[in-house]
Symmetry: C2
């Protein structure tokens, strides 16, 4: 992937979109944990919650990589997974939007 | 510590006490998780829950050791920590109750 240069305005948009996605994903993780606890009265439910959180933490730590060099791939994945809409990336230069769209069209980055 | 022999009746009492303690401790872990979630609206609360569960899991996995050779120490610790009362161990032979009491008197097993 080309190394784009990012203007200050684009960095601000990128950071906001990134934070929005991680916030949405963590809210969904919390909802899942609450639902697991609400629907599992058995005492071992806490270990299933722990296993689930261990898996999500590994996944989220890997996925949310804020290096500008990989950000278009990260955004493409977040759009594919539904954590961002293309509207959330509004304001990025056409070259970046095209890169994201190209990665989306290719399948898993 | 002496290696005691355990009658079938004692093994049954020991197993029930052990399971009772682990059930109580896991119920308390669950309550703590529910309380953390209820009082922390921020999205990062799930990672604090994860850290807490990782620590508890390590602690509980180590503590609940059902080898008969170490069971008096395990029971002494569970009594000290409040997960068992001496009444929950009623029916064990005097030698075991004395061993537990002796460990309790010595402090941390």
């Amino acid at each position: 992937m080309r190394d784009f240069s990012w203007t200050a305005a684009e960095k601000k948009i990128a950071r906001a979109a990134f934070d929005l996605a991680v916030g949405r994903e963590l809210a969904s993780v919390r909802q899942q944990v609450e639902s697991m606890l609400a629907t599992s009265p058995d005492v071992d439910a806490v270990w299933r919650v722990h296993d689930y959180l261990s898996e999500k933490r590994r996944e989220i730590d890997t996925k949310y990589d804020y290096r500008y060099s990989v950000l278009p791939s990260v955004f493409a994945r977040l759009v594919r997974e539904g954590w961002l809409s293309e509207a959330d990336l509004h304001g990025l230069a056409a070259e970046k939007v095209e890169a994201i769209t190209r990665i989306l069209a290719l399948g898993r980055p």
